[in-house]
Structures are given as structure tokens and as C-alpha cells.
Amino acid sequence: MGLLKHCGILKMDLKRVDDLYRDKVILDHCRNPRNADYLDNSDIHCDAINLFCGDEVHIQINVDDFRKITNVGYQSEGCAINQAAGSLISEYIKDLDLSQVRNFISEFSKMLEDKSALDFDEELMPKLGDLTVLHRVKEFPIRIKCVLLSMTALETGLDKVK
């Protein structure tokens, strides 16, 4: 043992990280982020930077006269979780109105931060669609903030709207 215990070919048992990084939906959104085009004539700019890790999220939103979201642009710099989460969220908020987005931000953030359960609220799950896959990040508490950065961006953007 001792020195020897680290030697030899590494047999990585990465089943737990597979839950996060091998999820088909997460992988798909990470590789092919949706709504990636920057919206030049956006009504609302949502930007957030996590200064601790350097990750950035930028979301542009167009709304109609009834404050319903008609178009979303989403760009991010950062880790796979940040990118996949932002892409999923950009899809989800399309067609919602701004008050629905506000509700979504608070409910979804609460579910992510709730330490009592590893899953999301079952009643809300059907509404969330593909977004439910993000519950997997709860097994990696340190990475929850990677998902929350998009929420922070949305919140900052919406706060600017009167």
C-alpha cells in the first residue's frame, strides 16, 4: 500500500458523474445550445457574471404588447452545466409572459436550493418538461450555482422592466 495504492491503470468509476454528464438532454443542449443567436433589437437585456468562477450568461428577450415573450437569445461562457441550463431555460421561457417568468424563477430556484429533496416537486415536474433533468445537479451541490446563474440573469433583466 502507501505509494502503491495510487499506481497502476486507473479504473474510473464515474457512474455518479454519468448522471450529470451522460444525460442525453443535458448533453444535447450543451453541444447544440438553442436560441444561441444574439438578438439585436431586444426589449430586455439579462446579464449575469459569477465573479468567483468567471462564468457569464447573457439573455436577450423580445416581448409583445401583452408582455408575452416572443423571442429569446441566449449566450454563455462557462461550464457545461451553465450552458445546458441556459439553453433549456431559454426554450422554456418562450411564450410565457413576464409574470409567469418571475414565478418560474422563484419556484425553480427554490426547488434547486431545497436541500430536503433530491428531486423536484412532483406536481411541478410535468410543467417543467425537459427542464426536470436539471434536478440531477442537486447531487452536486457546488454546481447548483451554475444553473442559478441564468436565473440571476433573468431576475436582473426583469427588475429593469417597469
Binding site: L3, K5, H6, M12, R16, Y21, C53, G78, A80
Partner: protein, 412 residues
């Protein structure tokens, strides 16, 4: 060569498993693990002679005072300071730096004066001087680094002028590992009459430091990065400077005579240590210094040079795969801190995968945001080693990184 396996036995935490794998702790630039001797020293103080210092006439207080001041002497010997009074206890390097900025800086920096730092400073050796310069109308100038991550000494010679009052330089970069040629830099600073502050946070734990030989005016370092507890740090100030400094904090412990109207200060160093000090952690830092000295700082430095050379050699495999390693590639010009960027995998994702292999790395900008930005990457992953890291752990780390890259490449 020193016996790493024996050293490892002194660190209870190194027997831990992380996600079912043996812990490979490579986040030593953030904080180091503690040997049982340091842990025992804390338990001994609280179990056997816990008491306040410098005041009680009872036996416990006398024992505590004796051990507390003995620890100060140990620190003085560790950096070869002539006077134990030159050692001021602080919380950490950051507080030490701020104390210099407030006590010496506010009294000595005037409008139009210049302060020099390098492009590779930790935020803690940048922001206090930004604030001081703003307040006094002084200029903060940055000594640039070259493409290898080494300091541009020619630029330093050009930047330094008779208006330069302070040069404050990191000895070993926490972000890219560069060892700066501080002895030469100190001589150059003194030629124009500038004071020199040496940030030893990443050097004091890893190599011998001799403040008389270096002739630095200030030296700062943190206990927890050298096997000591958190919450205790050191500020060394040359005695002739210290004699003329006014304290920042006032109150208990630091006074000689007090009336309702005024007070006189206790002699150095006590006049800089208001309030009950961090007695337990100071004593335990003394135990850490004993532990390091017993191994020998020369031996530690030699071992780290070897493991640095070995790691650099192994990194060439990673570099062939497109990984970028920052900092000089000459093992004599750098400490065992390896900051790298994997273009295909974000450092945070790499960090999570490595964690599940039991390997503790740091990811981010390492409190050196301007430097990491200038490297043109959003963040880096960093492996930082200490004397208890083995060559086979380096293999584990390199293989783990390759495995993590493969994991992301093949993901489907």
C-alpha cells in the same frame, strides 16, 4: 531524499477516501493539510493550559504566555529575523498586507509617489495599494510579465524611479507558480530608497526564507498554507521601521498607561496586537514551524523541485493533447503550482470529474483576476502540491486528467 511515506502518516486526513477513492489532495495553494502534531498542539492548549496571555498572575496564564511568546520566537527563527519583536501576529497574509497599507502606507505615501506591484499579484497584494494610491493621489504601476510567465526585469528597472516609495511583490505566484527573483529586486528597490514588501504566502511554506539575507523590509505569510491552523498569519517588519509605526487597532493589551483623556502604547510588538490574540492558533503555528524545520526547509524545497520537474515532464503528454500549462517550464523558475487550461472541457467540469476520482483541484481565477484575464482564458484548473504529495499521485493526477478529457470527448 526525505521519506514522504513517513510524512504522510502524520496527516490523518490523507487516509480519507473521497467518493470511494484515496484522497489526492492537490489544493495546497489554497490551504494545506495539518499534521497530527499541529492538531495535538491545539488540543493540548485547550485541554491543559487555556488562559489569556500577558496579564494573569496565575500559573495557566504564565504557561500560555510562555508558549505564545515561544511561538513568536519560533517564527522569528524560521525566517531568521534578528528580533522576535519584528513578528506581529495577524489573521492571514491579507490582513498583514492591509496593516502595512494602513500603518506604514498612510503615514509614508504622499501625492505623486509611486507604488510598484507585479502583473501576477494575488488580489490581496493589489487592492490595498489601489485604495492607498486613490486616497493619497499616488500612482500604482504594474511590472509586466513575459509570455513565459516570468517577470520582465528590464521593465522593472525602467518603471522604478526615485518617486517609488514601495515595491510589493509576490515571491511565488499562487496562480501560475512563477518564482520571482526577489533578492535582485530588493537590491534594485533599495538603490532608489524604496521599501520592499515580500508576499511569502506561497514561498514561506515551501522554501527557506532568510529576511536578513534577502533584506526585505516587510514579509507576510499565512499559517494555514504551511500546515498551521486557519486564522493565524504573520507580518514581519524590520525593527527600525516598526519603531516608528503607529498602531491601527487600539484597545486592550496594546497600552502602557491609560487615562480618561489619553493613552501611551505598549512596546513593540504588543502595541500592534490589540485585544486578546489568537493564542491557540499562534502556538499551533509554532508547532507547524517545528514540524517543517524538523523535516528541513532545504529538504522540502529540494523535494518540491524534483516533483515539479517530474510533473512538468508528465505535463508534456497533456500538452500534446492541447492542454495549455501556464507559467515557466523550467523547474527552477517555478514552484509546484500547475495552472492549466483544457480548451475542450471547462475547468469546473474538469474539477467535478476529478473530484469523483478523489483528486482535489482548484478551478477559477485563483484571486488573480487581472492575470487570468490576460492569459486569455475564462478560468484555469490548478494542481498545487506540497511535501506530502507523492510521484504516484502526480501519475494519478495526469492519468485522471487524460481520463476526464476522454470522458468528455466520447460523451454521447
Amino acid at each position: 531524499m526525505l521519506n514522504v511515506e513517513n510524512i504522510r502518516k502524520d496527516f490523518p486526513i490523507l487516509a480519507r477516501e473521497i467518493h470511494g477513492k484515496p484522497l489526492v489532495y492537490m489544493d495546497n495553494a489554497a490551504t494545506t493539510q495539518k499534521p497530527i502534531q499541529v492538531i495535538d498542539s491545539l488540543v493540548d492548549y485547550y485541554s491543559n493550559y487555556n488562559s489569556n496571555v500577558h496579564r494573569g498572575v496565575h500559573l495557566l496564564s504564565m504557561e500560555a504566555t510562555e508558549q505564545f511568546e515561544l511561538a513568536r520566537e519560533k517564527i522569528a527563527n524560521f525566517i531568521n529575523s534578528k528580533n522576535p519583536e519584528s513578528i506581529i501576529w495577524t489573521r492571514n497574509s491579507s490582513e498583514s498586507l492591509n496593516l502595512v497599507a494602513y500603518m506604514w502606507g498612510r503615514a509614508n505615501i504622499k501625492s505623486g509617489d509611486e507604488i510598484l506591484v507585479t502583473a501576477m499579484e494575488h488580489h490581496s497584494n493589489l487592492i490595498p495599494w489601489q485604495e492607498l494610491a486613490k486616497e493619497k493621489g499616488a500612482f500604482l504601476k504594474i511590472i509586466p510579465i513575459d509570455k513565459n510567465g516570468c517577470l520582465d526585469l528590464l521593465a522593472y528597472r525602467e518603471l522604478i524611479t526615485p518617486k517609488t516609495k514601495l515595491v510589493s511583490v509576490v515571491h511565488v505566484s499562487n496562480a501560475i507558480g512563477t518564482i520571482n527573483p526577489v533578492k535582485e529586486m530588493i537590491q534594485i528597490a533599495h538603490q532608489v530608497g524604496a521599501k520592499f514588501l515580500l508576499d511569502g504566502a506561497q514561498s514561506a511554506p515551501h522554501m527557506p526564507i532568510d529576511v536578513q539575507e534577502l533584506d526585505c523590509d516587510f514579509l507576510v505569510f499565512s499559517g494555514h498554507k504551511m500546515m498551521g491552523p486557519t486564522g493565524i498569519g504573520v507580518l514581519f517588519v524590520k525593527k527600525d521601521i516598526l519603531d516608528h509605526l503607529d498602531p491601527l487597532y487600539t484597545g486592550g493589551e496594546m497600552v502602557l498607561e491609560v487615562t480618561y483623556e489619553t493613552a501611551t502604547w505598549a512596546p513593540i510588538p504588543m502595541k500592534f496586537e490589540a485585544g486578546t490574540p489568537n493564542i491557540a492558533d499562534a502556538i499551533a503555528l509554532g508547532a507547524a514551524v517545528d514540524y517543517l524545520s524538523q523535516i528541513g526547509m532545504d529538504e522540502i524545497h529540494e523535494y518540491e523541485k524534483l516533483i515539479t520537474a517530474y510533473t512538468l515532464d508528465k505535463f508534456s503528454v497533456l500538452e500534446e493533447k492541447g492542454i495549455i500549462l501556464f507559467g515557466p517550464h523550467d523547474p527552477l523558475l517555478r514552484g509546484a503550482i500547475f495552472s492549466f487550461y483544457t480548451p475542450d472541457v471547462h475547468p469546473h467540469d474538469l474539477g467535478t470529474i476529478m473530484d469523483h476520482m478523489g483528486i482535489a483541484l482548484r478551478t477559477g481565477h485563483h484571486c488573480a483576476m487581472p492575470l487570468v484575464k490576460s492569459l486569455g482564458v475564462p478560468a484555469t484548473a490548478r494542481a498545487s502540491l506540497y511535501v506530502y504529495n507523492t510521484f504516484s499521485e502526480v501519475d494519478t493526477f495526469i492519468d485522471g486528467t487524460i481520463e476526464a478529457l476522454r470522458y468528455f470527448k466520447n460523451g454521447s
